[in-house]
């Protein structure tokens, strides 16, 4: 967490530096040359600091799909939201399948027991507790 805060701090400083550079350049005066040179060197040191942070965060993985959202100018939290919604929907779908299969199994055993009572009794004795009598 601390490394991420560190990186965020460096990035914010870097962006602010670039922004100020843009302001200087937008209406340049000869007296601003020193400031401009300083800002340019801050760019280099800023990039050095960001590069140092990179090594501490090498184990963090980011899904590529998030980049699609960012490239479209959309909030990346929408990706997280959609992932959670999809996970829940799939969870519900699978639960429905499991419940349906369980009901089918119990109905099937019930009906087969009516038609083949001896065989089903043998089957149940083999399965033991796995197949409680319906």
């Amino acid at each position: 967490m601390a490394e991420k805060d560190h990186l965020e701090e460096h990035l914010e400083k870097f962006v602010e530096n670039i922004r100020q550079l843009g302001i200087i350049v937008s209406d340049f005066q000869p007296s601003s040359q020193a400031g401009l040179n300083q800002k340019l060197n801050f760019i280099v040191t800023g990039l050095q600091d960001i590069d140092k942070c990179r090594q501490q965060l090498h184990d963090i993985t980011v899904p590529l799909e998030v980049f699609e959202y960012i490239d479209q100018g959309r909030n990346p939290q929408l990706y997280t939201k959609e992932c959670l919604e999809r996970a829940l929907a799939k969870n519900e779908q699978v639960k429905g399948k499991i419940d349906t299969m369980k009901k089918f199994k119990s109905l099937l055993i019930q009906e087969l027991s009516k038609v083949f009572p001896e065989d089903m009794a043998k089957y149940r004795s083999i399965r033991g507790e796995d197949h409680p009598p319906s």
Partner: protein
């Protein structure tokens, strides 16, 4: 008419018997030819069906059991029931459990799916200057292009020397119109922190008419009391629902927490 109906019935019965033999293997007798039933010549009797390789479980006579029941793992042909195998081990975690609760993601779910998440990138990064809501393909700033064609870099970042800085001697005066647009930010609805920087950031050149400034000031004045009311309501709601996130610093807190 009677003969044709009888023939139809005969063929139907024949089809049903074929299905029966397919279900229960080769042990069933082949169907009797229609002639034997007195329906007329009809079709020749079909050959007995081959024993099904992957057929469903059948009920062979109990004497066919050669191995103790329930111990057969390979499946085919042994045990009292055809293809009967041991059940797979039951796992505790299946789709029947609520996985969001299981992995303690309820708070995350409520945070992202309970509230309305704003669409734009500038809502996620409110302090970032520039027009960030534009697609990356417009100004060639997409992350995808960075991944597909990574820039060729040197091993280290070297400071710019004095002779190199000579190349950065600029002409005095304002920028041409084309370049000025890069500094303009989209109007922000939320002004939680009064950005003095944002005021200095918009270098309003003297060429722009003064009427637009008055209109902007008037709009700001009109919207301010409404904004304040809305902000207060939002703060109250946030303080009620999420005491961990205070209202004032929520934009920064949310941006930092999302990066975590």
């Amino acid at each position: 008419m009677k003969i044709t109906n009888a023939r139809h019935l005969g063929s139907v019965a024949e089809g049903m018997m074929e299905n029966f033999t397919a279900l229960f293997g080769a042990q069933a007798d082949p169907p009797p030819p229609p002639t034997a039933l007195g329906f007329g010549p009809g079709k020749p009797p079909p050959p007995p069906p081959p024993p099904p390789g992957g057929g469903p479980g059948t009920a062979p006579p109990p004497t066919a059991a050669t191995a103790p029941p329930g111990t057969d793992k390979s499946g085919a042909g042994c045990g009292p029931f055809y293809l009967m195998r041991e059940l797979p081990g039951s796992t505790e975690l299946t789709g029947s459990t609520n996985l969001i609760t299981h992995y303690n993601l309820e708070q995350a779910y409520n945070k992202f799916c309970g509230k309305k998440v704003k669409e734009k990138l500038s809502n996620f990064l409110p302090d970032l200057p520039g027009m960030i809501d534009l697609p990356g393909s417009h100004d060639n700033s997409s992350l995808r292009s960075l991944i597909e064609k990574p820039p060729i870099l040197s091993s280290s970042f070297n400071p710019i020397t004095g002779t190199m800085l000579a190349g950065f001697r600029l002409h005095t005066g304002p920028l041409p119109e084309q370049c000025r647009l890069m500094h303009i930010q989209p109007p922000k609805k939320k002004n939680k922190h009064k950005h003095k920087q944002s005021r200095t950031q918009d270098p309003v050149p003297p060429e722009t008419p003064s009427d637009s400034d008055h209109k902007k000031k008037k709009k700001k004045k009109e919207e301010d009391p409404e904004r304040k009311r809305k902000k207060k309501e939002k703060k109250k709601k946030k303080n009620r629902h999420s005491p961990d996130h205070p209202g004032m610093g929520s934009s920064q807190a949310s941006s930092s927490s999302s990066l975590r």
